[in-house]
């Protein structure tokens, strides 16, 4: 079974874009976000916010990518991520123009 591939932020964003492209025909892309607070925190130790990373995973079929985002990089990452989402999640329904209603109310004053 193929395993998780960990990438740096830019590598992840590149692969995410490709993954979304590939998945247009078939399947689903699943994006997961979780806090990763370091090994000490896993053992039940105190959490230092400086050690916190945002773990992001992208899965499509057998293909799995992940990355860890630190606070200093998160704004740049968020913007790139948002742009990728905007472009890729394009099969959602656009707002319908209410032409029927306009005709009913006739000429606007």
């Amino acid at each position: 079974t193929p395993s998780m591939v960990q990438l740096d932020a830019d590598g992840f964003l590149t692969q995410l874009t490709r993954m979304l492209e590939k998945s247009r025909e078939k399947g689903a892309v699943c994006l997961t976000m979780k806090r990763y607070a370091g090994k000490e925190a896993k053992k039940g130790g105190a959490v230092d916010s400086a050690d916190c990373r945002c773990l992001v995973r992208a899965v499509h079929g057998n293909t799995k990518y992940s990355t860890l985002i630190a606070a200093k990089d998160h704004r740049r990452f968020m913007k790139s991520y948002a742009n990728i989402m905007k472009v890729s999640l394009d099969s959602l329904k656009k707002k319908e123009k209410r032409r029927a209603e306009k005709k009913k109310t006739g000429v606007a004053a």
Binding site: L20, S23, R24, E25, K26, G27, A28, V29, C30, L31, T32, M33, K34, R35, Y36, A37, A41, V47, S49, A50, D51, C52, R53, C54, L55, I69, A70, A71, H74, R75, F77, M78, K79, Y81, A82, M85, K86, S88, L89, D90, S91, L92, K93, K94, K95
Partner: protein, 111 residues
């Protein structure tokens, strides 16, 4: 498994769940292009909140939720940095930025 219909309620409950269980709460977004649907899930494996949409108008809202979690999960407070994060959207200027550095510069735009 709870499907919440109201976006504001889903957003609020999701943030609350994370703040109560930051170590165990995860946020997933599932997109199936052929279905034209996005399914959001926020869970700590005990409580599970879900929101489904097929509307493009929800994408801006989803972006806000994404940003909320990105910020929380890398150890920052999204409500502190809201003034800075606002430049990513187009909500206008909010002069509430607080700089915690030693040299606190208050930037007042001159007209």
């Amino acid at each position: 498994m709870v499907y919440i219909n109201d976006w504001d309620a889903f957003f609020h409950e999701s943030e609350k769940l994370y703040l109560e269980h930051p170590a165990h709460t995860r946020y997933t977004l599932k997109y199936r292009h052929t279905d034209g649907k996005v399914v959001l899930k926020v869970t700590n494996d005990r409580v599970c909140l879900q929101f489904v949409t097929d509307q493009a108008t929800d994408l801006k809202r989803i972006e806000r939720l994404n940003n909320l979690f990105f910020t929380y999960m890398c150890g920052q407070d999204p409500h502190d940095s809201e003034a800075d994060a606002a430049d990513a959207g187009s909500r206008g200027d909010r002069p509430v930025s607080q700089e915690e550095s030693g040299t606190s510069k208050k930037r007042r735009g001159k007209r």
